[in-house]
């Protein structure tokens, strides 16, 4: 390379930089700025009024916002943990299968192909209190004679959303953990058996450390996309009934587009972004740790 030419890796990375800067970074800076203004879509010139941290102050004093925040964290924490555990079970079940593994793996991937919006819709359909599959089945089996208001009662609606979320994303974990199980050498397991480990022990001390990095890759991929819950909630309940299932993202979209209060919504958006980054960094760290443990070089 001659001195006046940029290094090849710079040239190669340039397009990615340009696109990400233009579509993500610069707009985000703009939204950071507008979170310090009382910007309303209906009155465009309000974007030039600077009001400091007033939006944030208002936000942090707003109970509704904190309720949505807490609900989002709760939903994600329960969902991610459940997905991890169920994904592990699913992977173990499929790995133990002696026949038809290819078919099972394919079926296992099934929910991944569903767009979150479709997941929301199909569970809205199934949990419909009047004609939904769930209530119909419960009634036909004689387990209950009234219609359970799955999406109308606040607590039940949260549970229904959780079920939809878990259904749609467990397979991500299952697939990666299964990949780990299949890549695992068999000798250590046999050695553990010879040394008299119970199946539980050999799982805990041999299998689990090996598949852990794979589980964290799945976690990382999921954390990059945790906002997909927005699509599901949006279509299933749209934050209702009476804001009982309002999460950060639905609150943001309502504030921005229905109430047209862009400044305030941008302030909320920043809180949501930091939440996502927090989750991602957490899992990246775990991934790095797990990677070191299995001795892979960075």
């Amino acid at each position: 390379m001659r001195g006046w030419k940029p290094a090849p890796h710079v040239l190669l990375l340039l397009p990615a930089f340009v696109v990400l800067a233009a579509v993500v970074v610069v707009p985000l800076l703009l939204s950071l700025y507008s979170s310090f203004t009382p910007f309303r879509l209906t009155r465009p010139d309000t974007i030039y009024t600077f009001i400091g941290f007033r939006n944030y102050q208002r936000l942090f004093a707003d109970m509704e916002f904190w309720a949505a925040f807490g609900r989002t964290v709760l939903l994600l924490t329960i969902a991610l943990n459940l997905e991890m555990v169920l994904g592990l079970f699913l992977a173990l079940l499929v790995e133990k299968a002696t026949r038809g593994q290819r078919l099972l793996r394919t079926i296992m991937m099934f929910p991944m192909m569903f767009s979150p919006i479709l997941v929301g819709f199909q569970f809205k359909f199934m949990f419909n209190d009047n004609i939904g599959l769930v209530n119909n089945a419960l009634q036909s089996l004689g387990l209950t004679d009234q219609a359970i208001p799955w999406l109308i009662d606040g607590k039940l609606a949260f549970t229904s959303i959780l079920i939809a979320e878990v259904w749609s994303s467990t397979s991500v974990f299952a697939i990666f953990i299964l990949a780990g199980l299949m890549a695992m050498p068999k000798e250590p397991l046999e050695a553990a058996k010879v040394d008299g480990c119970t199946p539980l022990q050999s799982f805990r001390y041999v299998t689990w450390p090996f598949i852990m990095p794979f589980a964290f890759i799945a976690m990382t991929i999921r954390s990059l996309d945790i906002a997909r819950a927005y699509d599901i909630v949006k279509i299933m309940t749209d934050g209702g009934p009476a804001k009982r299932t309002e999460i950060l993202w639905t609150l943001i979209s309502r504030t921005a587009y229905s109430d047209a209060r862009m400044g305030l919504a941008n302030a909320m958006a920043y809180v949501a972004i930091f939440l996502s980054i927090l989750f991602t960094v957490m899992f990246f760290r775990q991934l790095a740790k797990a990677r070191q443990q299995i001795g892979a070089e960075w």
Binding site: A7, L12, M113, S253
Partner: protein, 288 residues
């Protein structure tokens, strides 16, 4: 003898338990999808029936026929949405692949300072929730006059997909031994030729699956599309699905049919790539 028998019994019980568990898990996974397919083929009366009709009496493709014969079925221009979805997804995928190949190659083949930090930075752009990103984009697009155009959505999706395509393609190029390209260069190829004639063909199937992955992300995206599109000019299928929900009534059958139309391309494409997808993501992340 007795011990043998109990052991055998125990093993059989385990086997049966395993089969039952497997069956239940698969049933839970498949049921919602199958129910939608079934519902799309049944007449609305049967879907709404109380008490429920479990055994379908009559199946027909009426919902699909109505959907694709122009503006029938409650006035929903599915064909336009379908066309928009295809144009936007395919174009953004092609662009994201080109950018991802350049970036992935740089990560896989060059050593430079701040590599990890740049990689992490790319990933962090992906963590921004679609709805949070839509606020400033909405504003900027309105200023530029590209709201409700294919172009606007395409560049947004390119940015959405670049981090993942870089990650995946990086992983695939890593699996191609470095020596091969070097050997080609010694034999007189330029670096450019070596790339296209040696490294690219070897990583091709992986790159194709990265492309399908990107396509699916664009095909399924909703949060951005729901705010940046307005009319049949650029509305995509996920946004179109909402057209079926009126204030109090929902055309369940039509919605089911549209859902099936949306899922079929996704289904076919995912089956093709399933193997490469996992290996690409893991080799990028585990081996660093």
């Amino acid at each position: 003898m007795n011990e043998n028998q109990t052991n055998r019994l125990k093993q059989q019980a385990l086997k049966i338990g395993h089969l039952v568990g497997l069956f239940i898990a698969m049933a839970i996974i498949c049921l919602p999808g199958l129910w939608i397919v079934l519902s799309s083929l049944r007449p609305t009366v049967e879907i709404m029936a109380k008490p429920p009709v479990w055994i379908p009496q009559s199946l027909s493709f009426d919902a699909y026929v109505a959907m694709f014969s122009g503006v029938g079925q409650g006035g929903i221009p599915v064909l336009d949405y379908f066309r928009n979805s295809i144009i936007i997804s395919v174009t953004s995928t092609v662009i994201a692949l080109a950018i991802g190949m350049a970036g992935g190659y740089a990560f896989a083949r060059y050593q430079f300072r701040g590599k990890t930090a740049i990689f992490l930075g790319f990933m962090l752009t992906r963590t921004v929730p679609g709805i949070a990103l839509s606020l400033p984009l909405f504003f900027v697009y309105a200023k530029l006059g590209i709201i409700d155009t294919h172009f606007g959505l395409i560049i947004a999706y390119v940015a959405l997909n670049v981090p993942f395509t870089v990650w995946l393609i990086d992983g695939f190029f890593r699996q191609v031994p470095r020596d091969l390209a070097e050997a080609a260069q010694i034999d007189g190829c330029t670096r450019w030729q070596a790339f296209w004639q040696v490294e690219f063909p070897l990583a091709r199937s992986g790159i194709a699956s990265a492309g399908i992955f990107a396509f699916l992300i664009s095909w399924n995206e909703f949060a951005l599309a729901s705010q940046l599109t307005r009319s049949t000019n650029s509305k995509t299928l996920p946004v179109g699905l909402l057209d079926y929900t009126a204030e109090f009534t929902i055309d369940w059958r039509g919605m089911c049919a549209l859902a099936v139309v949306m899922i079929i391309p996704a289904l076919t494409l995912t089956f093709i790539v399933q193997k490469h997808l996992v290996s690409g993501l893991t080799s990028g992340a585990v081996k660093g």
